[in-house]
C-alpha cells in the first residue's frame, strides 16, 4: 500500500529562512534515512517555510489568492515522504524512524485509489 507520511513540526525551530546548522543536520538525516528506505521510498520532499506559502482559496465560484498557509497552527507541514509498504504496521514502523529534531507529529495517510 502507498502512504504519505506528513511531517509536522514547529518550523520556528529552523528559522524563517530554513537555513543554517539545524537545517543541515536534519537534511543530512533525511538523506541517510531515504537511503535506508531504498525502494520503499517512492517520493517526497522538504518544504520551505509557511512564510514562502501562498494559498488559492475557492469559495463559491470565486478563487482568491492569499499569503500564508490555509490554516494557522502551532505545528506546520514541513515535508513529506511517499512510501510503498505492505501495510499500516510497516508504515508505522517507517513513521517512527522519520528523523525529527524536536516534538512534532508524523501523519500517516493512505493514498486514494488503491
Amino acid at each position: 500500500m502507498k502512504y504519505a507520511l506528513l511531517i509536522y513540526e514547529n518550523e520556528a525551530f529552523y528559522g524563517t529562512e530554513k537555513a543554517g546548522p539545524k537545517i543541515e543536520e536534519i537534511v543530512g538525516k533525511h538523506m541517510a534515512f531515504a537511503g535506508e528506505l531504498g525502494p520503499k521510498r517512492i517520493g517526497g520532499a522538504g518544504l520551505k517555510s509557511t512564510a514562502a506559502t501562498t494559498t488559492v482559496r475557492t469559495a463559491g465560484n470565486r478563487k482568491t489568492v492569499h499569503d500564508g498557509p490555509f490554516a494557522e497552527a502551532r505545528e506546520q507541514l514541513g515535508g513529506f515522504y511517499l512510501i510503498d509498504v505492505a501495510n499500516l504496521d510497516e508504515a508505522i514502523e517507517v513513521a517512527k524512524k522519520v528523523p525529527i529534531l524536536q516534538d512534532g507529529a508524523i501523519e500517516i495517510r493512505p493514498l486514494l485509489g488503491q
Binding site: A86, L88, D89, E90, I108, P110
Partner: protein, 411 residues
C-alpha cells in the same frame, strides 16, 4: 431446531468463521457480510433439510463460497490486471474436506484492537466480530445509544480497511503496546458472559472461549503480569459459577455462596497464574483485581469467616493506581460490612460519573445499603430504578425479591 437454538449455533460459530474468512480474504466487511448471508441460508434450508453434523463447518463453507462469488462479481466489473487466485488451493480443499475451520480469533482480536482503531470502538468491535454479540447487547454494556454504537462500528471497520491495518499477528516487539486494549476487551467480553449467572443465556457459549483465549495469550506472552492476572481473574469467576444461583434460580451473593460448590480445578489453575502475576508485578491493577478474587476463593466452607477486611485492604491498594467509580462502588460493599451501611452510603454519595443514573451496579448496591440502613422508601425507589435498567435474568429475580421483601411500613 428452533429459532433460539439456531441463534445459539450462529453465535457460537460467528467469531471463528468471521476470523477465518477475514484472515484468508483480508477483508473484514466481506467476511462479516458473508457470514450473515450463510446464516440466512441456514435458516432457509436447515428446517427442511436437517441440521448438518458440523453446523460451523457448513456455515464456513457457505460463507466462503459467498465471498468467492462476490469477489468474482467485483472482478468482472473491472479489467483484470493480475492473475486472480480465487480458487482454493489443493491444500485448502483438503482442509475443507476434513471440515477444518482454522482458529484465527486471536488474529482477529489484534486487528479489532489495533491502535489505529478508535479506543472506544475496539472492545465493541471485538465483541461484535469475535464473540458474535448483537449491537443491542453491546450498546447496553457500554451505556450507549444503539445508533451511536452502530455508527462507531461502521467507522472502525472502514478505518481498518482504508488504513491498511494488517491481518497478521503483530510482531512480538509490538505486543506490549497492543496488549492492554486486547486485555480490556477480553475482560469486558467475560463480564458479559458471566453476567448471565445460570450460564444458560445467550452468552454462556463464549465464557469458555474467553477462558481459552486468555490461556493462549499467557503462552504467547509468558512474562506479562497483566496477561497472567486476567487469565487468573476469569478462572476465579468461572470457578464460582456453579454456586452463583440457588435452587430456585436466585442470585447468591459472593459472601453467601457455598465454597464447596466452587470448581477447585479452576481455582488451582487461577492460583498458579496469579502467583506468576504477583512475581512479575505485584502492584499492577489487574494483579490486585485477581487477588480480590483469590481472597474469596481461599474460603473452603461457609464456616470460614468472610474475608471483608482483606478485601478492603486490596481495594485500598487498587485505588492508589486505579481510582474509578466501579472500584469505589465495590469498595463501598466491603466498607458496609466493616463500618456499616451508613459509612458505605457516604462513600457512594461522593461518586461522580457521567451516566451514573443509568449504571445498574450503582443502583443495585445503593438499594441494598439503603435497605440495611433502614431507609425503606428510598431503598424501594433504588431497587425500582435498578430493575428499570434491564438487568440480566438472575439479577432481575434477585432484585425483585429484595424489593418484594421490603417491609411496607416506613421506619
Amino acid at each position: 431446531m428452533n429459532g433460539v437454538a439456531l441463534e445459539r449455533v450462529f453465535r457460537a460459530a460467528s467469531g471463528r468463521i468471521i476470523a477465518a474468512l477475514a484472515a484468508r480474504f483480508r477483508d473484514l466487511a466481506r467476511a462479516e457480510d458473508a457470514f450473515s448471508e450463510s446464516c440466512l441460508r441456514a435458516v432457509r434450508t436447515w428446517p427442511a433439510a436437517g441440521v448438518p453434523d458440523d453446523p460451523a463447518a457448513w456455515l464456513y463453507r457457505v460463507a466462503e463460497r459467498v465471498v468467492l462469488d462476490s469477489i468474482r462479481r467485483d472482478r468482472k466489473q473491472q479489467p483484470v490486471t493480475e492473475e486472480a487466485s480465487l480458487d482454493p488451493s489443493p491444500e485448502e480443499l483438503l482442509l475443507n474436506d476434513a471440515c477444518i475451520l482454522p482458529d484465527e480469533r486471536l488474529r482477529l482480536i489484534f486487528i479489532c484492537c489495533h491502535p489505529a482503531v478508535a479506543t472506544e470502538a475496539r472492545a465493541a468491535l471485538t465483541l461484535k466480530l469475535v464473540c458474535g454479540l448483537s449491537v443491542t447487547e453491546i450498546a447496553r454494556a457500554f451505556l450507549l445509544q444503539e445508533a451511536t454504537l452502530a455508527q462507531r462500528l461502521v467507522r472502525a471497520k472502514r478505518k481498518i480497511a482504508d488504513a491498511g491495518v494488517p491481518f497478521e499477528l503483530p510482531s512480538p516487539e509490538a505486543w506490549p503496546e497492543r496488549l492492554d486494549a486486547v486485555l480490556s476487551t477480553l475482560e469486558i467480553a467475560y463480564a458479559r458472559a458471566h453476567e448471565d449467572a445460570a450460564g444458560s443465556g445467550a452468552h454462556a457459549g463464549f465464557a469458555a472461549e474467553v477462558l481459552h483465549l486468555t490461556k493462549i495469550l499467557t503462552h504467547l506472552i509468558p512474562d506479562d503480569a497483566a496477561v497472567a492476572a486476567l487469565a487468573a481473574q476469569v478462572r476465579y469467576a468461572e470457578a464460582r459459577r456453579p454456586a452463583r444461583l440457588d435452587a430456585e434460580g436466585f442470585l447468591v451473593p459472593l459472601s453467601a455462596q457455598d465454597p464447596a460448590l466452587w470448581r477447585r480445578d479452576l481455582i488451582d489453575d487461577a492460583n498458579r497464574l496469579l502467583a506468576d502475576a504477583i512475581r512479575i508485578a505485584p502492584s499492577e491493577p489487574r494483579t490486585l483485581q485477581a487477588q480480590l478474587q483469590q481472597v474469596w476463593c481461599a474460603r473452603h466452607s461457609l464456616a470460614d469467616p468472610a474475608p471483608w477486611l482483606e478485601v478492603l485492604r486490596v481495594y485500598d491498594r487498587l485505588l492508589l493506581t486505579r481510582d474509578d467509580p466501579i472500584v469505589r462502588i465495590n469498595r463501598a460493599v466491603a466498607v458496609a460490612e466493616i463500618e456499616g451501611p451508613d459509612a458505605a452510603l457516604v462513600e457512594l454519595s461522593r461518586l461522580d460519573l457521567p451516566g451514573l443514573e443509568e449504571f445498574l451496579p450503582y443502583h443495585a448496591v445503593r438499594a441494598d445499603l439503603l435497605r440495611r440502613a433502614g431507609s425503606l422508601t428510598e431503598a424501594a425507589t433504588a431497587y425500582a430504578r435498578a430493575l428499570q435498567l434491564d438487568p440480566p435474568a438472575a439479577e432481575r429475580r434477585w432484585l425483585e425479591r429484595k424489593l418484594a421483601e421490603l417491609p411496607r411500613s416506613e421506619n
